[in-house]
Symmetry: C3
Subunit: 286 residues, 3 copies
Amino acid sequence: MKTILMQFDTDASPSTFDRVVAVDAGADELFSYGGISPENVTGLVHGAIFTRGPKDLKHTAIFIGGSHVSAGEALLKQVVDTFFGPMRVSVMMDSNGSNTTAAAAVLAAKKHLSLDGLSALVLGGTGPVGHRVAQILASQGSTVRVASRTKDRAEQTVAAIRTAIPKAQVVPVATGTEAELLAAASGVSLIVAAGAAGVELLSEATWRTLTDLCVLIDLNAVPPLGLGGVQVMDKGVERQGIFCYGALGVGGTKMKVHKAAIAKLFESNDQVLDTAAIYAIAETLG
Amino acid sequence: MKTILMQFDTDASPSTFDRVVAVDAGADELFSYGGISPENVTGLVHGAIFTRGPKDLKHTAIFIGGSHVSAGEALLKQVVDTFFGPMRVSVMMDSNGSNTTAAAAVLAAKKHLSLDGLSALVLGGTGPVGHRVAQILASQGSTVRVASRTKDRAEQTVAAIRTAIPKAQVVPVATGTEAELLAAASGVSLIVAAGAAGVELLSEATWRTLTDLCVLIDLNAVPPLGLGGVQVMDKGVERQGIFCYGALGVGGTKMKVHKAAIAKLFESNDQVLDTAAIYAIAETLG
Amino acid sequence: MKTILMQFDTDASPSTFDRVVAVDAGADELFSYGGISPENVTGLVHGAIFTRGPKDLKHTAIFIGGSHVSAGEALLKQVVDTFFGPMRVSVMMDSNGSNTTAAAAVLAAKKHLSLDGLSALVLGGTGPVGHRVAQILASQGSTVRVASRTKDRAEQTVAAIRTAIPKAQVVPVATGTEAELLAAASGVSLIVAAGAAGVELLSEATWRTLTDLCVLIDLNAVPPLGLGGVQVMDKGVERQGIFCYGALGVGGTKMKVHKAAIAKLFESNDQVLDTAAIYAIAETLG
């Protein structure tokens, strides 16, 4: 029986990126839909769960993608709510690559640092990827400073992470001024930059003054990069004694995590691959 | 040469149900289109008939689906009208699963009854599935009472069936009141319920009073079911001496008929699989 | 690694014709998109170039199609402009079949005539196919009269051809009147008709008076055909001493060129298959 991956994309055209990865991950057939929302997905889910017998449902799965993470989350909720009893298929949510990228970034940090008890700063921590980096780090026992230009936006993300992980050690920090930035970065061993493309969040001159710093990860691939002095291809390169990772250096691992998650979907019909589940898959690749 | 099935769906998004069945029926490639109407289908049909040579055209076929049977019928007409001479491909129409479901229901009845000369009642007989159940039964020599709440709606369906099958023994009956329902059901050996989801059309107390009844088939899968006391998974279960079938009990056969019809499309390039042709395929599976 | 062809169609529904040919040309996976324009293609191209590693990018390619050649050209430009450095995939443009049809027509002429120094007339020379027939002939050293009902439209096409091929020997001619038509056809060895469907551009009585004529090619498949007396299935048939080709006679070669071009896309990741490149591929099939 062929494996079928149904790609439900919240953008008008289904992502070619996600399609190529699905093909390379070994899905036999790909049903790609664009413009999908909670309002029009129910019939499509019924076609997934009512066609093959219960013991064959693991050969069908759903991938949720698109540019907007909040739209993807609403779609995931509706898809899962449509399932009932054994009538369900496995589903993965990775809008904007947020979960696979965050998992790959944390995996990079873990090569050099013990995550439990680690002190970390996530710049651009309120965006979809930064939010998930902070959430995964917190789930592994790190104390995470979630940074945004203003503290109130950071507080919203911190509250959302605490809802997902009640024991999370997460602190909102503002990085609107150089003094705030220096205070936010003081004492951390890991800094991850997950801000908007083309904005330098931290200069090399500044991070060279940080005495506890061990790992720098920049997830921005478009120049100017997010962390001064870190190169886009860096993959554990030592610069000034700091292990550096650029977006393309993390990208290879992100792709492996993405493919492994797609393959995992077809192992049983009852999986919901969200942030935590995707990081758990990433860890097995470590 | 790969087999190609072009799925033309009258709904905005092409049905995942029909896609899964097409894959499982062995079609190598599936071209799925949503939002197809007589106005925009001609160019798509030209691409089907003008690409492969006449002797290879049997490897390309068209499937017409969607929620609305009348839209599907209009599309089928336009597709067939676009063919000329040997420039044609086989085409199947099964909007809303109407033809395959009706064929499977009649096949179930046939296990217990001789259709020729049979007296049958189709409740919800004016809907797409009920209409086709009545039409197939009439084509096999049954005398069929086509029921609706009011007689005039039933008369329209009866007229349509007589156009398709001039010798059809079909009678319109109203079932708006309990007295009408009792009169309609009196003396029949088979009752098929094909009404709207969630409406009980006949109570167990009532059908237990019918002395000639032999088979009950309920095509509604959503509770409350259409025939009181019949269970959704029933597949020939005897209840009060009556052989009972529920929607899921018929569903397995429907899926077999659907797959067999898809496979049949690729045997030659000149088939039009409508209600009669799909029932003929179903009979070979009997 | 599977080959992936991304079909970007400027029409609302992606062409089934181009899809069937892509399947028959051996592309393993086809990602078909309709309604694509320069405004919404960039993200789709990013998904093509950012997923597979540089050495595997040759397994992904892009096909640009649709009814409107100018829309296809604008899309091709945007796609190519999105590439950078080694981050590119091969791309073919064949809106309305213009390039493959024109290449097949010239290939037919070449069986009987030396193209270098040839004097040719292209009727309907300002349409997408006629334009490309004239351009290919000019690129091979022919002197080409580009005909339209009025000379000013022909002059625009001639200017466009000279931009593509600076040394082109192309002359605009009007064929609005019978006298103009006779003057335009006088002395040519090849006439190609590429006008609108159902319009006879040249009568048999007229072309029988042309003493230098050797080959007639009619690319119109809908009666009345474009060249009186030429049959749609003609493939080098001699009529009155003239080698004649009809649209279906050229169509088989067009299909071979189309398939060969699709296959060629996957040989490297840096090809842009435009008019000249597609004719170069056609020549290897000669």
